[in-house]
């Protein structure tokens, strides 16, 4: 069968395929940039229409975060949490589980990290690692609940995670306002963590002020690489991918689909737990009400932006945090109000996954080449 006259055409096909694939990659990249530019252009119009000075605003937004080392630190610190949260949903998304539970997991992680870091005296290195571990475990546990409900009972994970978020956020609020509140303090927050448990600030390393940025950044990078390896280089990752792609096929092929689903939730939860630990041990140094802000939700944007590829999530996280930081600086330095900043961020979010532009171009290139021959 292999020595048919087709061989010639086949090798031609093969060549063509490789060329197309390489070109597609280039087109994808450049078009992603083009879409972002288009989004920024629309933001430009929004500012013009609302009577602001777009040039000055964009200057603040696009160069602002790099203006001072402190702002770079602010960006990196934000990106660390955001990327971890993006990673935490990317894994269940890979198994096609729409887990919206990062919020509950990050709070559970923060609670666990704080419980250890505040109350348990530990020797130096352990003082950092044990809370991290506790946070990952708590996050994983919080992920396990909807995971097991989905895998074992078939309970819808969207409902389960949304409900769990609502519950955990309220319980967290109660704990921070009540039992865990620092005695004698009028402000609402827990006692500070022990000195040894803090994630070393990057300023200590580089000798320049970098705000609250800390070695959690490297922890985040390591996590991303580990998750990428997990997805592409381990049997469990393979099982998660196949389960996400076609669960019936996965089951037929001998993959225990419920187990793969559970694992995806547990791993995601653990990563979100780490994000909680980063907030406690690196950012605030204690528990504060509402400490994750809207990051848990924006992690979803980051994950989907990166099409759930862990390494790309890092890029998307850095990009999105840059936008967040830039938007804040724009609001401070110019007359553009918070409302318009939100609108511009919305426009960018809306357009940034518009893939049709690159696809259109790809199709045009393919057609032109077909026409040539």
């Amino acid at each position: 069968m292999t020595t048919t006259p087709m061989t010639l055409i086949e090798s031609e096909d093969r060549r063509e395929y490789r060329v197309t694939r390489r070109r597609d990659l280039a087109v994808d990249l450049s078009m992603t940039l083009a879409t972002i530019l288009a989004a920024l252009a629309i933001g430009f119009l929004v500012m013009l229409v609302t009577g602001n000075d777009p040039v000055k605003a964009y200057e603040a937004m696009l160069t602002g975060p790099l203006d001072r080392s402190f702002r770079v630190g602010r960006w990196l610190e934000d990106a660390t949490t955001l990327t971890l949260l993006g990673l935490s949903v990317a894994i269940p998304f890979r198994a096609r589980q729409i887990s919206l539970g990062a919020e509950s997991q990050v709070y559970a992680g923060a609670l666990a990290a704080a419980a250890v870091a505040v109350f348990l005296p530990l020797p130096p290195v352990a003082a950092v690692l044990v809370p991290l571990f506790a946070a990952a475990t708590a996050g994983a546990g919080m992920g396990f609940v909807p995971g097991a409900m989905k895998a074992r009972l078939g309970a819808n994970e969207i409902v389960a995670t949304l409900m769990l978020n609502a519950i955990v956020v309220r319980v967290y609020d109660y704990l921070v306002n009540g039992p865990l509140k620092e005695p004698g303090s009028s402000a609402v927050h827990s006692r500070s963590i022990q000195q040894d448990s803090a994630l070393t600030p990057l300023s200590d390393w580089f000798g320049i002020p970098l705000g609250r940025a800390n070695i959690g950044l490297f922890l985040m990078l390591l996590t991303a690489i580990a998750l990428w390896l997990l997805i592409t280089r381990t049997p469990l990752g393979y099982r998660i991918r196949m389960t996400g792609s076609n669960p019936d096929f996965a089951e037929y092929g001998g993959i225990r689909v419920p187990r793969a689903i559970e694992w995806s939730f547990v791993i995601g939860g653990a990563v979100a737990g780490l994000a909680g630990a980063h907030l406690v041990q690196g950012v605030y140094g204690r528990l504060e009400p509402g400490l994750a802000g809207s990051l848990a939700f924006e992690g979803i944007v980051v994950a989907l932006l990166a099409r759930n590829n862990p390494l790309v999530v890092v890029v998307a996280g850095l990009f999105y945090s840059y936008l967040r930081a830039g938007g804040d600086i724009m609001e401070q330095q110019t007359d553009v109000g918070t409302e318009i900043v939100v609108v511009i961020q919305a426009v960018i979010v809306l357009l940034v996954t518009a893939q049709a532009l690159p696809d259109l171009l790809k199709r045009r290139i393919a057609r032109r080449q077909a026409g040539v021959r």
Partner: protein, 344 residues
Amino acid sequence: GGSGGDENSGAAASGKPRIKLVINGGLGDKSFFDSAYEGLKKAEKDLGYELKVVELGSDRTKWEPGFEDAASADDYDILAAGTFEVTDYIGELAPQFPDKKFWLFDAPVDYTGKNGTCSNKCENVYSVTFKQNEGGYLAGFLAEKLVAEKSLKGAESLKKVGVMPGVKIPVIEDFVVGFKAGFKEAGGRNSDVLVQYVGGDKPFGDPAKGKEISTAMYGQGAALVWPVAGLSGLGTFESAVSAERYTFGVDSDQYQTLTDQAQKDTVVTSILKNVGNALYKAAQDDRKDSLKYGAVDTVGLADDAVGYVDDDHFKELVPQKTRTELQEAADKVKSGSVTVPSAF
């Protein structure tokens, strides 16, 4: 960062001192921040200041960097901020920018410098806090008198009163603690005070839920409901109209701010916590160089920073006897012969 203020650190080109109000939340809350903003705007107009407002939004991850940014920029002379949430940020930043002045309202920085902030003993920070418990006390006192004397038309048979705070945090709880104390002082029973928090995703911005809760409290026999929940409280006035019952306003004079006459009519009085006045006063004092930096100023009934509205509508609804009793109670608090318990 750096130690700021190297060039042109005096005043603006215009020569006016510049105030930067940094809000860890947003304007439009119809109470706390709006009141602060109004006070400073008035100062801008009357006293020759320049005012800039920065809103940081409710996402807490942005607060610390937001304050750092605000403090590092050299476009202000006085940085004003409020709430307990930001005391540590101010305590960190004040020593870094010793040439600048900081005003902190509704919370004190830690002037002792013991917990790591305020390394310069916050000599450039003026803090002002409010005895909102005293306002709560008067509200509770008045409420019990009104139901006991059956003065509220259409609600004569009812004994209960309701309080609807946004969330259970100390500053808000201070109102409630005071209310209960006043209610008891006037002869009421604790069990007649219904307290229900709005809670949820937007405790200070969910008027629909506020309305539902007030309606429920009226349904449980409350003659009046006192919302301490920002915009959520707007729902209370609507429910009071349909239940034909009464309300107290909070923070600002809500008889003035409401537009609907039926709703206005439900407002017996408003318990004022006048953040704006306090800031205006600080601005006045600062112009005269008599503002006391490096210390906390605690203001209450005695300073007119907390109080109640005594207008024609109030006189119409509240009998003379009750008004006198209320005035006496207020005097006792002012003179210090009564100490109102606090949530702090």
